[in-house]
Symmetry: C2
Subunit: 322 residues, 2 copies
């Protein structure tokens, strides 16, 4: 073999082995919602939030570190947050105008573009796991309301009584919102993950907005709006859902990256800091790409968020300065 052909052979071998053999560094990024206001965060609440975020990061990272899929890591992190009572998802979800907890969730597998989504469920302990079941055990992508609950039972998920979701903090929030005739939006949870195989996934779970009208669906359960993942990019959004729907925010970030060939950070900034605010909305996203780059822009005062990888360990943030 001459020098040139041996160089060509080396390049061909490198190309052939690069996609799978060289494993990606696993990475998990999560959020517990934008819309955090400094004056409302007591030291006790900050401690609770950071502890739950850290537990969720470790639960998800354990999956990735053991060679599990990004989809399983997203499920592990989000279902822990749904169970915690800390955020506006699962236990601890906000109350709607009628004093009920009405839950939405979705997730998407970037490698296959498979997706699952549920909205307006009242008796499902872990909406993110029901979204996963819709994806894997139904021919559909999205199920809502009583139909989604009937499906949950058909796949063996035991319903919880609506009282399961009650927390005093959220009940007081509703009473205040009813007095002020206002709605509040914060506390949605989400996760994006990159696994050792280099595959991305994204998921989001929420109780929606305090004092929302019965039947309202926000961006969280909508593929493309609140949740999106493909081979190169994964996004979970949190914020004023109506504006994230109109901006098709999660998909728009990935589309800008792929078609306009801008960086993840620049695509996410454009949508979160310019397009959504121009429409009149606010909120934030967590986004990662298949190179392991992270973007976490938000245009509210704070956003509960965290990231974990082998190099830096688990980190959590609430406001810009920490």
């Amino acid at each position: 073999m001459n020098k040139l052909s041996s160089s060509i052979a080396a390049v061909l071998v490198a190309l052939a082995i690069s996609p799978g053999a060289e494993a990606a560094e696993p990475l998990l990024v999560i959020h517990g919602g934008a819309g955090v206001v400094k004056s409302e965060i007591t030291p006790a609440r900050e401690k609770e939030v950071r502890e739950t975020l850290e537990k969720a990061l470790r639960a998800g990272y354990k999956v990735l570190d053991g060679g599990g899929t990004s989809l399983d890591a997203v499920d592990a992190a989000i279902s822990l947050m749904e169970d915690s009572g800390t955020f506006n998802a699962g236990k601890g979800a906000v109350f709607n105008h009628d004093g009920k907890n009405e839950l939405d969730a979705s997730l998407m597998d970037g490698a296959t573009l498979r997706a699952g989504s549920v909205a307006n469920v009242h008796t499902v302990k872990n909406p993110i796991l029901l979204a996963r079941a819709v994806m894997e055990k139904s021919p559909h992508v999205m199920l809502v309301g009583e139909g989604a609950e009937i499906f949950a039972k058909s796949v063996g998920m035991q319903p919880v009584p609506p009282s399961y979701f009650y927390t005093e903090m959220r009940w007081k929030e509703l009473q205040k919102a009813l007095e002020d005739e206002k709605s509040g939006h914060h506390g949605t949870v989400g996760a994006v993950a990159l696994d050792k195989a280099g595959h991305l996934a994204a998921g989001t779970s929420t109780g929606g907005i305090t004092n929302k009208r019965y039947g309202r669906v926000g961006d969280s359960p909508l593929i493309g709006a609140g949740t999106y993942a493909d081979a190169h990019c994964a996004v979970s959004a949190t914020g004023w859902g109506e504006f994230y729907i109109r901006a098709v925010a999660a998909h728009d970030i990935c589309a800008r990256m792929e078609y306009a060939q801008v960086s993840l950070a620049s695509a996410a900034d454009e949508v979160v800091m310019k397009i959504v605010p121009k429409l009149g909305g606010d909120g934030g996203v967590i986004a990662i790409d298949d190179n392991g780059d992270i973007a976490m822009p938000y245009n509210t005062e704070g956003m509960f968020r965290g990231a974990i990888d082998a190099k830096s360990g688990a980190r959590t943030w609430i406001f810009r300065d920490k």
Copy 2:
């Protein structure tokens, strides 16, 4: 003024007046669903479909010709199709697994990116008009199920009894689907319009798929999946909804046009003829841009569709050869 500076001045004047002063030629494109099979279309059915499409085209074009908005034209064309009993939307919608008609619709105003959507309603005569009301008279973008019906009453829309939607053709389709344990998807209606002010709008309305499970939501009511419009591009999709959701099809077509700078035809072809089929789905879209270009790709045997403008009048098509 020398020659160069007078040329520059002329260009500046042309640039300044071009957006509004030079009115756009109004254009309306509609569909009555993909998934049309030649062997199932009798001459009587073809006549009925073409007559309804023509009526809808003329109803929508009348709005545009009179200087009305693209949004009003979309509403006029779609509500006529919903009332006709001809398509799978409004009267004549397919039956779900439980023998009920379950309706979804959405619309979007390209000029403002405002949008409205309803899903899983059973007593609303014109779901597209309820979607419009959600957009204009609620703080939300999407309302589903009983909550959407309560909202409909609150804005003065009188409910119709579920029997209103019954047609013999659809009932027989369900009986056959129940025997075969199959689902069918066709007959969704949609419209995209360009008004004299150069503004685009898009809308879609459907009964979903025959024999679908209670609570299933397809792409039609989802902004970004079945319906999307912005300043440059408007899309309404019809087909196997699950795959159109996963592809975020309507927004992806507009995103490719804007960010990858490809033509409308090329963007629509890529999504409808390559991406959705690669995922395992089928269907079609109607799409127009602010230059008045039209794309109507589909990868099924036929798609009920029509277009109208001042130059060519009203035209309808069912299969590729006519």
